[in-house]
């Protein structure tokens, strides 16, 4: 069995494979808590939003080289990636988004037969979840309305899709509901959503575009999310279209 090496991927997709001696450690994370102790009451109440906290990812290992010049080349190549913002690290087929490096220790022990160094790098993972390396895409052609359908969403955590509505007919008013997520509903009333227009609803960033035109003013309701690890049932009411969702499965 081959052991997959750790990879750093920058914001434009360039990959760097870490030396095989490198290993990864994920610092503890957990859900927020804000306990409020009530007068004359046992225990306390948690009033927090209970969201997961950010965490740190630590990568450490050794760099070996045949000579000092090679060692410096190897270290410089690694350092080139470390100083970038918004990189990802991949291990065992899953990736985590790293905001930036927050700590680098670089030890230079006395050379043995070959020069080597010991490196420990800490990254800040503002987003604490692991994701599939590639986006998952689901697509349905809507030929009648209302239309009920369900998709199996992988992963474990909730994830926010990019929803693309490619209108086959004029689609001036449509509603889209994730019935599995307590009927979370979005609605777009747009008199310019004619046939052949495309609407992009980015539920991660909270933007709504028709082509390249910002139509957030036509949007009401909530941006939808997908519940991981189960079937999600959807309801679409509107004109005929091709509905696509692109998302990443997410794990803790």
């Amino acid at each position: 069995m081959s052991i997959a090496k750790l990879k750093l991927i920058d914001s434009i997709g360039q990959e760097y494979t870490l030396p095989k001696t490198f290993e990864l450690r994920s610092d503890p994370t957990g859900r927020r808590t804000s306990l409020m102790e009530m007068a004359f009451t046992h225990g306390a109440k948690d009033v927090s939003d209970s969201m997961f906290m950010s965490k740190f990812i630590e990568v450490s290992g050794k760099i070996w080289a045949a000579n000092d010049a090679e060692y410096n080349v190897k270290w410089d190549a690694l350092a080139e990636h470390l100083i970038k913002d918004n990189i990802q690290i991949e291990t065992r087929g899953r990736r985590i988004n790293l905001k930036k490096v927050v700590g680098i220790t670089h030890d230079y022990p006395l050379p043995l037969a070959y020069p080597y160094g010991e490196v420990t790098i800490s990254f800040e993972a503002a987003d604490p979840f692991w994701y599939t390396a590639l986006a998952v895409q689901k697509k349905i052609i809507i030929a009648s309305s209302p239309n009920l359908f369900e998709w199996d969403i992988g992963g474990q955590m909730e994830t926010w899709p990019l929803i693309t509505i490619a209108n086959t007919n004029d689609n001036f008013d449509f509603t889209f509901i994730n019935k599995t997520d307590a009927n979370r509903t979005l609605r777009i009333i747009d008199p310019n959503a004619a046939a052949a227009t495309t609407i992009y609803i980015d539920c991660a960033a909270g933007t709504v575009l028709r082509g390249t035109t910002n139509i957030i003013s036509k949007f009401s309701g909530l941006f939808l999310r997908l519940l991981g690890g189960r079937m999600n049932e959807f309801s679409y009411t509107g004109a005929n279209c091709t509905l696509t969702m692109d998302y990443y499965n997410a794990w803790i």
Binding site: V47, D49, I216, L222, F223
Partner: protein, 373 residues
Amino acid sequence: MARLGEKYRLHEDRLLGMSIGFPEVPYTPSEPGSLRGFKLIFYDATDAKIGELGSDIKTGKVSDIQFELMPLGCGAFSFICDDYPGFDIAYRTRVDIHPYFDDTPWFTGFVQTLPQPGKKRPYEYTGFGFFDQLDWIMVTETYGPQDIQDIVKDIVQNIVAPDTSIIYNAAKVENTGYTIDAIDFYLVPAKEAIQSLADMATGFEFGVDDSREFYFRAKDTDVNHSFWAGKHFQEVEIMENPYTIRNRLYIKVGLIQGEGFGYIKEGSNCIGYEEDAASIAAYGLREAVITAPDVLNTDDAREWAKDILSVIKDPDIEASINSVLLDTTRTKISAIGKAKITTHDGTEYELPIKKINYSISISGIVGKIDLGY
């Protein structure tokens, strides 16, 4: 066909005496159905929606929101973003705040301060409810004899609404049943003018609600909310302040009086006094002078003084309830009417609501209520 030994390759159950595996019901995020969270919706000066910031997206941008509701309607607010929001927020941009994604905003106001260029992140925006715009407009008009309701309607419809974002709705200006003989406003801020009228109407309040509509209404004296220590709030502070008591008020008005007003000095604009005998008996005589330069009629001035006296003849009783938990009811608490609070030993207080401060942050959605006269 399974390979030899594959059945027992993951030995946790054999080694640890426990089984592992996926639960039948998977993790469910943040209580679907309860919809904890919030949304801010922004509108430009023409009331066109320009953007929104909420917790219904992955990359939420707002770390902290504060806003307050008072008898005058929506008060101050602020919110803090990790970065610029991706659309233009300008002075007078309207902000509607929807806790728990409520369809009806709990607060509406407009932006008054913006982060200045060069400032480091995070960025804080602050503002106030539309009530504040009553201070932007001056009233110069003479009225009378007229019902107070008609005067207020004229000020709001013809002087305030045309030059502010405040909306005039005749149905929200209630009849007072009191006719003012004569009143002369000369370059008086609309807020002050209407405050004088509310005082003369006795028992009336005014403000701008979360629909931006001006209201002028009788004060609600019903108990609209009840809170129990340990159940709905963490702690309560109750204070009595006798230092503000005044029980005889000398009244000055906007005209010079001659003889015929008792002992009042000729040429003075003091038209007499109002007093409360019970308060004098209880707390001793405590005098003060109040002035209404716009009022031209002695009866009107006395009505106005009586209203003020009814408030300050007794000691201030103030209470402050900290950390009111809103998750249970998910219902907006407005500063209308009274609230009843029951302390841990069963003592009950019924006090008017003066202000509610709402806070939305990682510590949840909580309120702080100030009560008192």
